[in-house]
């Protein structure tokens, strides 16, 4: 998609506008006419170039813009103060960024003799703080033991959404549907945590604990991906099916509230999957 020439043209047109905004902002800063919004606008210009350049794997441009925006972020957060030296380096950085955009557009290598000294000057404002690569937020690949995987017949997933789960726009039914697509699944809902008295019922709390038994699943990577955004928004337990979860201790429940709750419906099962059985725990 990012190889589409029309998108690349859009990017370089956008860069022209952003370089103009950057130059104007840096000039205001040099003339002492800048306010907080000027610094924010300069930051956004560099940040936007970096963000879009990443889509086209323009690594030299991204790397320089990252260092430049980090210094600007320190400045707008008042962790750096404006002085003559800083303004001089920012001006040079603006010139280098424009040159890097031009080099990328012309598809020629950057002039490292011009880029590297300015990179070093930017780095000097950051100390060692930004000298490390950014921490990537990725899933760790697991080493699979295929001998034991032969014996693995599936996983049991149990989760009870907390209040923030709903506040952030999540829906347990969608998670259950996604789990159901990983393998033949049996789904049950434990409603024993429902309050006895209707007056105690909080509509934004999670009372149901969902347990999904998935057969024929050799690894839990798919499960972890499904819970990527909610692993700390719910009480989540994932265990191999050969070590079943301890069932929750039964508590008195009010049948009237249970009746008010929508009865979970049977999920539509993909053709290659068996139909899940929806049961309620005693």
């Amino acid at each position: 998609m990012a190889n589409d020439p029309s998108i690349l043209d859009t990017f370089f047109e956008e860069c022209e506008d952003l370089i103009v905004a950057l130059t104007e902002g840096l000039t205001e800063m040099r003339d002492g006419a800048a306010d907080d919004e000027t610094v924010n606008a300069v930051f956004r210009a560099v940040h936007s170039i970096k963000g879009a350049a990443g889509a086209f794997a323009l690594d030299e441009l991204v790397g320089f813009a990252h260092k430049f925006e980090t210094v600007l972020d320190e400045l707008r957060s008042n962790r750096l103060t404006t002085d003559e030296n800083l303004l001089r380096v920012l001006q040079r950085a603006g010139d280098v960024l424009a040159d890097l955009v031009e080099a990328a557009r012309d598809n020629i290598p950057a002039n490292r003799d011009q880029v590297d000294p300015v990179l070093n000057e930017l780095q000097a404002f950051l100390g060692d703080e930004d000298d490390q690569p950014e921490e990537e937020f990725v899933f760790e690949a697991m080493t699979l033991d295929f001998d034991s995987a032969d014996d693995q017949s599936g996983y049991q997933v149990s989760f009870r959404p907390g209040p923030e789960f709903y506040a952030c726009g999540h829906d347990p039914e969608l998670l259950i549907k996604a789990l159901n697509e990983l393998g033949s699944a049996t789904i049950s809902a434990d409603d024993t945590a429902l309050p006895d008295d209707f007056a105690d019922f909080d509509w934004e709390s999670g009372y149901l604990t969902w347990t999904i038994d998935i057969q024929d699943l050799a690894t839990d990577l798919g499960i972890l991906e499904i819970f990527q955004f909610v692993d700390d928004l719910c009480d989540l337990k994932i265990s191999p099916r050969d070590t079943p979860l301890t069932p929750a201790q039964p508590q008195p429940s009010n049948p009237k509230i249970s009746q008010i709750l929508r009865q979970p419906r049977r999920l539509r099962s993909p053709q290659r999957m068996s139909t899940p059985q929806l049961t309620r725990r005693p």
Partner: protein, 122 residues
């Protein structure tokens, strides 16, 4: 009916990339050029999911989420934050703001579509 996506980003390049990737996947895409435009278009439309950049003029992405979560209309809509930040700090900031999830730029088209399908049931 197609799943409706509202994509908010001040970068025309990112808006074009999002539009091409999402329309190719069969979604109905509306774009907004900054946070204020995004909130207005959210109120004027029936988006099934919102994608928002963080650093934008007029109103940033977290301000957009504040307005959506604090409003009356469709306040539980899934909102994906699109950002160049990564790491635990991003997760903390996005979560505190009420974001449903996050995608790091540059984004992979297939991964983005997969997340959207999972969050909307499309």
């Amino acid at each position: 009916m197609k799943t409706r996506i509202l994509a908010i980003d001040d970068s025309p390049t990112i808006r074009s990339l999002l539009t091409m990737a999402l329309e190719k996947a069969g979604f109905d895409v509306t774009t907004a050029v900054d946070g204020v435009d995004g909130v207005q278009k959210f109120r004027d439309s029936d988006a099934d999911l919102v994608i928002t950049d963080v650093n934008m003029p007029n109103k940033d992405g977290f301000g957009v989420i504040d307005d959506i979560r604090g409003g009356e209309k469709n306040r539980a809509v899934p909102v994906l934050v699109l950002t160049t930040e990564s790491g635990a700090a991003l997760k903390e900031r996005a979560r505190a703001a009420g974001a449903t999830g996050w995608i790091v730029k540059p984004f992979d088209d297939d991964a983005l579509v997969s997340v959207i399908r999972r969050l909307t049931g499309a």
